[in-house]
Symmetry: C2
Subunit: 345 residues, 2 copies
Amino acid sequence: MVPVRLASSMATVLLAHEKFPHRAKTAVSILRYADDDVVAVLDRANAGRSVHDFLPDVQNAPIVSGMDEVEACDELIIGIAPIGGGFEDSWRADVRTALERGCDVTAGLHSFLNDDEEFRELADEHGCELTDVRNPPDDLGVSEGRAGEVDAEVILTVGTDCSVGKMTVARELYEAARERGEDAAFVPTGQTGIMIEGWGNPIDRVVSDFTAGAVEEMVLERGDHDYLFVEGQASIVHPAYSAVTCGILHGAMPDELVLCHEAGRETIHGYEHIEIPPLPTYVERYESFAEPVHETEVVAGALNTRSLETDEGARSAVGAYTEALDVPATDLLRFGPEGVLEAVL
Amino acid sequence: MVPVRLASSMATVLLAHEKFPHRAKTAVSILRYADDDVVAVLDRANAGRSVHDFLPDVQNAPIVSGMDEVEACDELIIGIAPIGGGFEDSWRADVRTALERGCDVTAGLHSFLNDDEEFRELADEHGCELTDVRNPPDDLGVSEGRAGEVDAEVILTVGTDCSVGKMTVARELYEAARERGEDAAFVPTGQTGIMIEGWGNPIDRVVSDFTAGAVEEMVLERGDHDYLFVEGQASIVHPAYSAVTCGILHGAMPDELVLCHEAGRETIHGYEHIEIPPLPTYVERYESFAEPVHETEVVAGALNTRSLETDEGARSAVGAYTEALDVPATDLLRFGPEGVLEAVL
């Protein structure tokens, strides 16, 4: 676990071709939470528009079709992560241009920039850093089952599927707790959280024997805060990624869970032959899975209502979600984090 | 997934210092199941004795204190895997001697022989192969949730803890099915199974995002047999390794489970602060975890009674285990695999 990038006010460009905003969660979260000064978003499908056309509540930036149209920047961040986490060749020209202009390039992909010969040569030639935040440190080990010993109240976000808002909800709660004057810290477990915080172990890229251990290490390291908000990953019912979810759940030994869901989602994204089970069963699934290692409780729900146009529709969906889980719930971005924060602190 | 070693009748030495036989499961399984001709076991704590003093039902070999006492061999296998999977320096002299005498060396550790400069130089100098069976191939990817499509009946062994007999039970059932003339295959997921079969993905060493995918790949590859016996790993309640268990369970999409347990085990081995939950809850835990991805059922139980001296005591423990699970159960090594095989086929 090492600092991976300077999370400071750099002039940053976010690559999000054909995915902005709804399939570009890294880009959107950097716009929302990071200290970076975002000078442009690259999305050839939305060139000419601006971030605020889609997301009025984050920092604004022009959307352009490629690095050629960006005047000056310090860093290009790959702001999308396709299923499988590979580098797509249609991004190559932008990365090449960035490096030729002396910009650092940062990615959270499974395939590493540093393994690409052309990029390595260009980076050497132009004095740039290539940072792969998903490349875990070499010194990870197995969990000792000790995260439960920390003084902090550990709160983990868990989900019904991928891309429902676990990072966002953990981040919103963390920031809201700090605004209230609470002594809180954020434990990042994925590329986006790591980019925002500037440190962390990329749990989905860790050797599976060390999954829990890599989370435990971070919880022990930050355990002297009063509250730790741990970013969860994937879902306990996910056909491909449940190992990551389960390793985090046993490794972090959380005291409380916040269950995240997206309104209207009925099947696992990308695995449409697999249905999302009834919502109340998730409470039972997560609690009973955790229990032999460390008892925990779903204390609140977070519903992502981005697909619902009206606040009225969103409110009604939140009502149904609250009833299904039988705990306080809201859409933290749409209606504010207060209700859920109360349930958590 | 590639062939990793010639699983043939080599003159093999098994290193198992201070762990033979009860904490040397790789060594014991090679003695029991592999085609290797084992010429010696290295265990300085038991030098002068023989394998049959401890295990009368596997191939016999003398136990000696080090490679110096071995006359001739083709291959040295590290037959123990400590928690964490590191290489212990007290084994170095034996590996060095083996290489100097032209023997290949094979290990299933997390730390790779091929990363050790001294071993690499000696291997080059003496024309030996260093094989790390726990080094996964580079081309693994995420699961597509498709293992359920194979024609084969997929049977997975699952456990209450590590080292309770999941590999052994899968292997016994596979061999017994073949003896009956059934068209069966074995899917190895750990270092021991891979050493015996000569191929396979070491699931506990795979990137956690690819855990399920690396199992799915093997099931799809062997799916044209009538029965696939998949070696499970660790346990759904294990504080460090549950990610591996869960990735295999969702990746293999098994039709049937055999729940393995060791008589008398009350806490998680190496994590004595964590109790083994009541046995019937494991049936519910495994079935309900698997269900959203692929429905499955615990159809039989396997009880490891090695700690019980008398057959009478073992029979009584098996009776209690059968009652707790409410499915047919036995100790397959002690009483034969038939009862459980019937329940599975």
